[in-house]
Every structure is written in structure tokens, then in C-alpha cells.
Subunit: 121 residues, 2 copies
Amino acid sequence: MDFRPINIADKFEQFSEHWSPKIVAGMNDYHLKLVKFQGDFVWHEHKDTDEVFLVLDGEMVIHFRGRDVRVAKGEMFVIPRGMEHKTSARHECCALLVERAGTVNTGAAGGNMTAPAEDWI
Amino acid sequence: MDFRPINIADKFEQFSEHWSPKIVAGMNDYHLKLVKFQGDFVWHEHKDTDEVFLVLDGEMVIHFRGRDVRVAKGEMFVIPRGMEHKTSARHECCALLVERAGTVNTGAAGGNMTAPAEDWI
């Protein structure tokens, strides 16, 4: 049992890669992850799980087919399971994700932006 | 489908009660809740679920039997299932909780600090 709180800013200092979520905590069969990103991700969906984005710094856009949602610092959005989406950010964006353990960032789409599902820091 | 992002600050402005978590989003069978609190809560445990606290403003202490953990703004802590604990805050603290849907704030302890498990804002 580790009784140290998880300092979000300290964790963000430990990595600089984009589009590569890092797990900072587990709860039940879920993971809390931190991610940095800039530019455009790939279209994908998660068939079996919703996905939470809480923007901690910067601003992101979640693109759905026919609709874009701008999510700024201090805002949260839950992407429903099975809904095709693409994330983007003009400038670097830092976010906290809540995802079921084992969730792959590109869903079933695959490709070279696929990151490890189990990358703890 | 609601395409508006959830603005955390706006949600916090919608209530002032202490120790009464408000649900702001659902993901799968989990809820994301906001809570304000000050003073001391009651000793309790959640037998079947871990519980996440992310402090967004102020500072809290999570008391365990024989050990206290101070969690400041920008820090997170996961309280393991089955571990008796009590939360406290000297000054008002604002936090985001991630909990399995239906989690009652006082666990099995009950008492007059028990809040509704399904209070959406």
C-alpha cells in the first residue's frame, strides 16, 4: 500500500511523448491515465467502453462524424462507447483519462499511433 | 446525446452543501461526482469498490487507522476497497470523485451524513 498522493504536475513532468497515455492509478478494473497530445489523432471507436477526458491544460477538439466538440481546461467530456471519434489539439493539450483497464488508444483502428495499453509511470 | 462539455467550475457554482456529492457524468457503470466539504466526515469503508479523490481546490486529509494522508490541490488518491477511512478538511475543499454507480458516501456506516447516491446536477 502506497500512501503517497499522486501529484498530477509531477507525473506530467515525467514524460513528453504525445498520444501515449501513461497510467498513474488504478481503481477496480479501471485506469486513470495522463496524456499529452498535439495535432490530429486517428478516427477510431471503443466498442465496449465509454471514455472520459478531463482537460487539465490547453484545449482539445473531439471530432465526431458531423460534429466537433471543443473541450477547454477545466472541462470534461465522456465519449460514448461505439461512437466514432478523433481527437485533436492545435497546441499541446494535457488531459486526464478514465478508461477501463486494457483500453487501447486507437480502439480497433490500429495503426502506428497505437500506444501500449499498460504504460505506468 | 449531449455534446456540451461539462465545465467543472460552472458545476461547482450550482451547489454549496458540504459532504453531498453531485453526479456530473456517467461512464459505463461509474459516476464522476463533485463534492465540497469542510470539517470531519465519519469513519466508514466501501467493501466492494475503490474510490478516487482528485482535489481540485483546497486540501484534504484522508485518515486511515494509524496513518493520515494529506492530499492537496492537483493531487489524487485512490482509497482501496475495504479500508476504513475518514476524510477531513480544515478549510473548504473541492474534489472530483470517481466511484462505481450506487456508491453511498458513508459506505455501510450510515448516519446523518449519508447523502443520496444519485444526485445529478
